[in-house]
């Protein structure tokens, strides 16, 4: 049975194996260069004149490659689900070859166990290798970009979760194929469900796996990213009270009583927040880039807001929760994969020939 499964899996494995090897080789060749660049950028950063723009420039130079490798790790699990999982049983059911396979001297349960097990191991190995190579290669970039490693896009393409995603996608595909019995609809359903799960997870589940940290800080130039007057003369502030590298769930201005306020009602026509020039027109002034002394308008307006008692409240998960979240999520997806495999084993004994 192992032989048959391997024989059926062989072509696909060789192609995927070659692709993974090529990716690994490419990353192995370019990785040291990236790391060296990063070290150089950090060194430049230590110089007082260089500021930290060297690190930013380093990230910008490698941004496309960084996005590409991230995307690879993100698409590997759904592809495994659609192209290995969904046809695993359904292709046999469609072609009628299950009648050949199930009437040899091997029970269907064993047939499925070997097929699912061997394909699963291959899938997990592929996803694991991709994630390992990319996590290693992109390490310096992950530290220098604007995105925190714990934020959804990066979280899903680093560490151990891609392995659990692959196992889940494969089991999902196999289950869909077994229930739908036709490969193409099963592939479509697998993709749709997997993507749904991947979107729902960071929105509905992951934030609540651990209770988020809540903190409130004063409105200062350090905490406020942008603020802008809308056409309705209302002041909208985008700010964060979270430390760098955190996954910010929500961030908003609160009034002295702790109530969420957006927009902040303050006069744009007169007072410290009034714009010079055309009063009432839309203003957009990002602080922090206006020099060490700050834009007098921004500084004044912030001081006024502070005086009125407005603060910034954020809920977030610290960067240090990356690994706890990884293990929790890997556990959840692995359990889901096992549950789906259980459905497959229950169903295979009842599937009509």
């Amino acid at each position: 049975m192992i032989w048959l499964t391997w024989r059926q899996l062989r072509t696909g494995t060789v192609i995927v194996g070659a692709a993974v090897a090529a990716l690994a080789a490419l990353l192995a060749l370019t990785g040291p260069g990236v790391a060296h660049d990063y070290a150089a950028a950090i060194a430049a950063c230590a110089e007082p004149a260089g500021a930290c723009s060297a690190v930013g420039r380093f990230f910008d130079r490698n941004q496309m490659a960084w996005l590409a490798v991230t995307a690879i790790v993100l698409v590997v699990p759904p592809l495994i689900g659609a192209f290995w999982g969904a046809p695993l049983v359904s292709r046999e059911l469609e072609a009628g070859t299950h009648r050949l396979a199930w009437t040899q001297s091997v029970t269907r349960t064993r047939w499925l166990a070997v097929k699912l097990g061997l394909t699963g191991l291959t899938a997990v190995a592929v996803a694991g290798l991709c994630s390992l190579a990319v996590t290693w290669w992109a390490g310096p970039l992950d530290h220098s970009g604007d995105m925190a490693r714990i934020e959804p896009l990066e979280f899903a393409s680093r560490g151990v979760v891609p392995v659990a995603y692959a196992a889940f996608a494969l089991a999902l595909g196999a289950t869909a194929g077994l229930l739908i019995r036709r490969p193409l609809p099963a592939m479509a359903v697998t993709l749709a469900l997997f993507v749904t799960a991947q979107i729902a997870m960071p929105i509905l589940v992951r934030p609540h796996l651990l209770s988020p940290t809540r903190s409130t800080v004063a409105m200062t130039e350090a905490s406020v990213d942008t603020f802008a007057f809308g056409p309705d003369h209302a002041l909208r502030v985008s700010a964060s009270a979270a430390p760098r590298g955190a996954w910010v769930l929500s961030s908003h201005a609160v009034d002295p009583s702790g109530k969420r306020v957006s927009p902040i009602t303050i006069s744009a026509a007169s007072g410290p927040c009034a714009r010079p020039g055309s009063p009432g027109g839309p203003a957009d002034s990002p602080p922090g880039v206006t020099g060490p002394d700050g834009d007098p308008l921004v500084t004044g307006c912030l001081a006024e807001l502070q005086r009125l008692g407005y603060r910034i409240e954020s809920t977030y998960h610290r960067a240090s929760r990356f690994w706890p979240f990884q293990w929790y999520e890997a556990g959840i997806y692995t359990l889901a994969a096992l549950g789906l495999a259980g459905i497959c084993f229950w169903r295979i004994r009842r599937v009509p020939a």
Partner: protein, 301 residues
């Protein structure tokens, strides 16, 4: 020897559609059993139940004394060539032989390779590129080289031309003679089965109409022709299977264990094909007074 296939009030329905109902059979070992019936009569359902691809919705079925597909040992004892002889299109003939060897502990590689060689199949050819006949032969090879006690074939010759049909069946018979298999094969054509079978099951509209040793069936069915007569006036032990009348003449196909003594009849032999056709027609107008008598038929075997 015990029965190779024993079914008791076996039934299978798909939702509300009954594919097989109230099927009671007791097929002895060492026979070549022909399962015949029109398309959609439930032949495939019965055979799939016998190899464990389907599970019954009512009644029981035992094959070689065990529930079909009860475990690897039971599976090893039953060879099966499914309808359309499914094979893995991407795998070569050689791969199929290896598949058979890996998946069957009793695999007889010499038999398999000898058969493939005799059939002139190219080992490196993909099964998807084989003709229908070659594919059927490959599937049969897998079934035979597994060295089962019972070989079940579902419409093995349906896709073959008459010459290939004859060759396939001849070949099957050689394998049967060589390995002492019991065989059950289905067809909707009696002529296919006539040459090879010694036991017949007629399945019509999801019910077993007739089951028995062909010799016995031939000896107990007679064609009676003579002056026109009402079938009700025939002796009690003569069961009318079919009747046709002209103005002055009646022709009956009757089943009886007793000799025909009435001198007014001209007694003729019934061909197997006519017999089967009579039973097939028989169900379309079943005699209202004897609906429950049919299951007794096989007891008389």
């Amino acid at each position: 020897m015990s029965a190779v296939l024993r079914a008791q009030e076996l039934g299978k329905s798909y939702g509300r559609v009954r594919a097989l109902s109230d099927c009671t059979l007791d097929v002895p070992a060492g026979r070549v059993v022909g399962l015949v019936g029109p398309n959609g009569a439930g032949k495939t359902t019965l055979l799939n139940l016998a190899v464990g691809l389907l599970t019954p919705t009512s009644g029981t079925i035992e094959v070689l004394g065990e529930r079909p597909a009860a475990g690897p040992e039971q599976l090893a004892k039953v060879g099966f060539v499914a309808q359309g002889a499914p094979t893995y299109a991407n795998l070569s003939v050689e791969d199929h032989l290896r598949l058979g060897a890996r998946l069957n502990p009793g695999w007889d590689d010499a038999v398999a390779r000898d058969r493939i060689g005799r059939l002139g199949l190219d080992l490196s050819q993909r099964a998807g590129k084989l003709s229908g006949g070659q594919r059927a032969q490959l599937a049969l090879t897998l079934g035979v080289a597994k060295r089962p006690e019972l070989l079940i074939l579902d419409e093995p010759v349906a896709s073959l031309d008459p010459l290939a049909r004859r060759e396939f069946l001849q070949d099957l018979m050689e394998a049967v003679a060589e390995h002492g298999l019991s065989v059950v094969l289905s067809s909707h054509l009696v002529s296919d089965l006539e040459r090879v079978c010694d036991y017949l099951i007629v399945l019509v509209a999801s019910q077993v109409q007739l089951a028995g040793d062909i010799e016995t069936l031939m000896a107990t069915h007679h064609r009676l022709s003579g002056p026109r007569r009402d079938p009700a006036r025939l002796p009690d032990d003569q069961r009318v299977i079919s009747a046709s009348h002209t103005d002055r003449q009646s022709t009956f196909l009757v089943r009886t264990d007793a000799p025909i003594l009435d001198p007014s009849w001209t007694v003729g032999q019934v061909g197997l094909e006519d017999l089967v056709l009579a039973y097939m027609g028989h169900t379309t107008n079943p005699p209202p007074d004897r609906p429950t008598e049919r299951p007794k038929l096989e007891v008389q075997r």
